[in-house]
């Protein structure tokens, strides 16, 4: 699915939320994140891989997530990211904010679930 116009703009702002949300369950590495996002969005959301890492580094800088090199048996050494307490608080706040935003749009623009 190709987004255009408003949605495309909005997508940029949601990257951080999406990454934080996927890390909420368990620590993941970058490649895993891109695969998950693509899979769960049915291919609608894709990350340019360099942008994904740019986002990860930004979040790490803000101490919302923390990266760590892990070497698992029979696998390549990978950097796993896990969400921090601070990150969880941000995620919760953002979720709440988005929920309120959706409700507002629903009321104002008459957008409803199909």
């Amino acid at each position: 699915m190709e987004f255009t116009g408003a949605i495309r703009e909005a997508k940029k702002g949601t990257a951080e939320l999406v990454v934080l949300a996927f890390l909420d369950d368990e620590p993941r590495h970058g490649y895993e994140l891109t695969q998950l996002i693509e899979e769960r969005s049915g291919g609608a959301l894709t990350f340019n891989f360099a942008s994904l890492y740019a986002t990860l580094y930004k979040l790490e800088e803000r101490k919302w997530i923390q990266g760590r090199w892990v070497e698992k048996a029979g696998q390549r050494r990978r950097r796993y990211y896990r969400i921090t307490e601070q990150g969880r608080e941000v995620l919760a706040a953002q979720r709440k904010e988005w929920l309120q935003f959706f409700q507002l749009i629903r009321d104002l623009a008459g957008v409803r679930y199909a």
Partner: protein, 904 residues
């Protein structure tokens, strides 16, 4: 192999990052590479082929922008210089031809500069490797004809009267013969007073040095002693510890070795190195005819160490205060006029931190000239490289605008370009350094002749390093600033719009490039003129009519020194040796002579000729030689009038002389000299006059450059002028083969007459060639660099013209489509080339015209502003310019208009 796979992706990530000018920490590179490797692996698992899988990962990489990856929390270094160097290195590798040409021209340019500088350094700048060299001073004099040679009595007197001096020594460098008769084997010796070691503050590596007690005729308690150099110790004794105490035969006298000096000590003379140091007192044992008390034996150099805090000026003043006493106590046996001068000439000390050197005065100007030449070559190389880089810079304008548009600072662009230049320069300097090591050693080897081995300490010191580093940086700035300046002037996005096709930027680069070409051509003209002047000088000297035929003549120096032959018998022994050699098969003729031409030795007197013209005292000098029968035949010297010497000219017969034409011109106004008599001036009552019986053609005597001096030949068989007879030369002309092949049979023949004579062989042509050493080296270097300059200028011109043609391709295509003939196109291109060359030649010729006066003393037989040389150089440059311009012009004329129009 996962590791290899990862490395592959890492290098691609880094390359991609460079494109965005992002420096990524190792961790980030690892992470991104890991991601791509995962992508690749997943695609393979998904059933893709290896090619497809790789392409998928590559697509992801290419689609990515790394711009947001710049400010990484884990990379705190900012954008480092290491990154610049990496990018620069990739740039250089990406354009291998440009880089190779640049590195090679730089290696030659910087290498040549370093080589010549290291010679200048070791000859004139480097301090002697001794204790506190700045306290050393050498005795010279302030006089119209100054000497720095002194007699032993002067040294003895000076030493006693000096208070401001801590210590001092007198020395002379000579060759001594190691062989006991037969063919000689020479070692370089220093005859020195015992004070040398203390004054210079050098301690022996092994054993001891000699003392005052050893410094006397016959030697001290240990008999004759010698101190040897480290190199001689290694060469002769293989560094054996028991060399101390061994005997060494020098001039047939056994010397006991008492010490070895450290490896870096080469003595007080710069330009030579000693094998053995001998006490000066022993000189009379080796040369029994000599006496240290002789007041007319000018052979010693004198060096002193000043007391702490005493200046050279103060020491000079102190010495001048006692000068009258010293002079009066050491009066030589001279004419009153000369004695007056002797008393007046003022002693002067000069600083001697850099040692004593006869080479210095001789080679200072040639070296300086060559230094200027190599600097010019480097400048030309710089102009060439600047042009190459400018061309590349234009090609990269697009890239730069993008970088600027994406937020790179101008300073960063400039820094990157200067890094590239510095890297090029540094690589060039690295290769150049090797060129220099090799080149300077080669040059020093060229300076050596059979009789004089030149040694210069060429080890790298801080001056050479500083010079090379400085040259490298300046060079990089010279050729790097133009492209960097160009980069700084790029407007963001401007060049993107331009797409490298419009005339704007290209045109301005062209004008800068043209200026550089004009500079190059001008500098090349100067170098070519210099090369032509020196080459012509050398050719003129090398093909000079010597007045004799030097082919197939072998000079055999026979020395009776130390041999058990009574002095009165020596001439008879030499004459018997001559006859024995003359009788050998393959020998055309053999003759004795006291002096051989161009040997560096000479002998002369002031003379008075009966019926001659009135002359000033200073113009009465004539050079003398003492020769046997057959001399003029052996040398092929022309007999103009009268006769040559015969066997009838003996001690008992009336003394006779033969003069040359220059003599007749000077003393007799060109009149026939036969029948006139000559005597030494001032005339001594007890001396019989010599009757002139013949006149021979002029022949070179002392130096090729000097006009042939008035020369008087006396008969060696008539003992005249108390001639020293320790040594005489036997000149042998071979009948047909090379004279060198006769060496063995001549040595045997002389050995059969007297086995104790010491023999040194030297072809006359070697002697002549050795006298041209300086001219040969200057001509060789100037010729080489002149040719190099021509090549570089040709390349530069070709490059700029080709570039101009490629930029004007569309224009030329349109012109041709509109009916311009190929000849017209060639004219169009060549007119531009000829303008550049013409301007360059004009400037170069002007500068050469002015600058050539500085090399006047190095020239022979032509004026510094020699019109033929200047015109020839201009012609050569124009020819090179024509070829360099014609090649691209021809290409321009072959442009297919249809193709051009389709493309545009």
């Amino acid at each position: 192999m996962p590791d290899r796979e990862l490395r592959h992706w890492k290098s691609l990530v880094r390359e991609r990052a460079d494109r965005d000018w992002r420096e990524l920490s190792l961790e980030v590179v690892d992470e991104l590479a890991c991601h791509l490797a995962d992508l690749h692996a997943a695609a393979l698992r998904g059933g893709n082929t290896e090619h497809e899988a790789r392409q998928a990962a590559l697509d992801a990489l290419n689609a990515a922008s790394f711009l947001n990856l710049s400010k990484r929390p884990r990379s705190r270094r900012g954008v480092g210089y290491g990154h610049d160097v990496r990018i620069a290195l990739r740039q250089l590798i990406a354009t291998p031809i440009v880089s190779t040409v640049a590195v090679l021209s730089l290696a030659l340019g910087i290498g040549a500069n370093t080589a010549i500088f290291s010679l200048v350094n070791s000859l004139t700048l480097r301090a002697l490797p001794v204790k506190a060299p700045h306290q050393l001073a050498i005795l010279t004099e302030d006089a119209p004809i100054a000497t720095d040679s002194w007699t032993y009595p002067i040294w003895r007197d000076v030493r006693q009267r000096l208070d401001l001096v801590e210590s001092g020594f007198a020395w002379d460098s000579q060759r001594v013969n190691l062989a006991n008769g037969g063919v000689t084997e020479f070692a370089d010796a220093i005859w020195t007073t015992a004070g040398m070691f203390d004054t210079l503050g050098v301690a022996p590596l092994v054993g001891r040095t000699f003392t005052e007690a050893d410094d006397r005729s016959g030697g001290g308690a240990d008999g004759p002693v010698a101190v040897i150099s480290y190199a001689f110790w290694q060469r002769r004794f293989g560094g054996a510890a028991d060399a101390i105490g061994r005997r060494l035969s020098l001039e047939r006298i056994p010397f006991t070795i008492i010490g070895v000096m450290p490896p870096d000590f080469f003595g007080p003379d710069v330009g030579r190195r000693f094998d053995v140091a001998l006490p000066i007192g022993m000189v009379t044992t080796v040369h029994p005819d000599r006496s240290l008390d002789q007041r007319d034996w000018w052979w010693l150099s004198i060096m002193v160490r000043l007391k702490g805090g005493v200046s050279v000026r103060q020491a000079t003043d102190a010495l001048r205060a006692v000068q009258p006493q010293v002079r009066l106590a050491t009066l030589p046996d001279w004419s009153p006029i000369d004695l007056k001068q002797y008393l007046e000439d003022r002693f002067t000390f000069v600083p001697a931190a850099t040692g004593n050197s006869s080479l210095r005065a001789r080679y200072q100007r040639p070296l300086l000239t060559i230094m200027v030449v190599v600097v010019l070559v480097l400048l030309i190389a710089c102009a060439n490289i600047a042009n190459l880089l400018l061309a590349r810079a234009t090609a990269r304008r697009h890239e730069w605008s993008v970088r600027l548009a994406l937020g790179a600072s101008r300073w960063r662009l400039v820094r990157l370009l200067l890094t590239e230049s510095l890297l090029l320069s540094a690589i060039g300097a690295g290769v150049g350094f090797l060129v220099a090591r090799w080149g300077s050693q080669l040059l020093v080897a060229q300076l050596s002749t059979q009789t004089n081995t030149v040694f210069l300490d060429l080890s790298v010191d801080w001056r050479v390093l500083a010079f090379t580093t400085g040259t490298t940086v300046i060079t990089a700035l010279l050729f790097g600033v133009a492209p960097a300046y160009r980069a700084a002037g790029v407007a963001p996005m401007e060049a993107i719009k331009e797409q490298g096709r419009g005339p704007g930027a290209g045109a301005s680069r062209l004008s800068l490039a043209s200026t550089l070409v004009v500079v190059q051509v001008a500098l090349s003209v100067i170098l070519v003129v210099a090369a032509a002047l020196f080459l012509r000088t050398f050719t003129k000297l090398a093909t000079l009519d010597l007045g004799f035929d030097h082919d197939r003549v072998l000079v055999v120096t026979m020395s009776a020194e130390g041999a058990p032959i009574a002095p009165a018998q020596r001439m008879a022994v030499f004459e018997r040796a001559r006859r024995a050699v003359a009788a050998l098969p393959g020998v055309h003729s053999a003759a004795l002579s006291f002096v051989t031409p161009l040997s560096g030795h000479n002998w002369g007197n002031r003379l008075e000729v009966s019926g001659g013209v009135a002359l000033d005292d200073s113009r009465r000098s004539a050079l003398r030689n003492h020769v046997s029968t057959g001399f003029f035949e052996t040398y092929g010297q022309r007999v103009v009038a009268g006769r040559v010497f015969t066997d009838r000219d003996r001690d008992s017969s009336p003394p006779v002389a033969i003069v040359n034409e220059a003599f007749a011109r000077r003393f007799l106004n060109g009149a026939n000299p036969i029948g006139h008599t000559l005597r030494r001036y001032p005339v001594r009552a007890d001396e019989a006059p010599l009757e002139i019986v013949g006149m021979v053609g002029d022949a070179v005597y002392r130096r090729l450059r000097d006009p042939v001096p008035p020369t008087v030949y006396s008969s060696a068989a008539q003992s005249i002028d108390d001639l020293p007879t320790e040594e005489f030369n036997l000149n042998v002309r071979a009948a047909s083969r090379s004279s060198a092949l006769l060496t063995r049979s001549i040595a045997d023949a002389i050995g059969s007459v007297d086995k104790d004579l010491a023999l040194t062989f030297r072809p006359l042509s070697d002697q002549i060639s050795a006298s041209l050493t300086q001219e040969r080296i200057v001509a060789m270097l100037a010729g080489f660099f002149g040719a190099l300059a021509l090549l570089l200028a040709g390349l530069g011109l070709y490059g700029v013209t080709s570039y101009a043609v490629s930029r004007r391709r569309t224009e030329i295509g349109i012109r041709m489509a509109l009916g311009a003939a190929p000849a017209g196109v060639v004219r169009l291109v060549l007119s531009r080339v000829s303008m550049l060359v013409g301007l360059g030649v004009l400037i170069g010729a002007g500068v050469s015209f002015w600058a050539s006066q500085f090399v006047a003393t190095l020239l022979y037989g032509l004026e510094p502003r020699d019109p033929v040389t200047l015109a020839g150089s201009v012609a050569v440059l124009s020819a090179v310019g024509a070829v360099a311009g014609w090649l691209p012009a021809r290409r321009a004329a072959r442009i297919d208009p249809a193709e051009v129009l389709r493309d545009s």
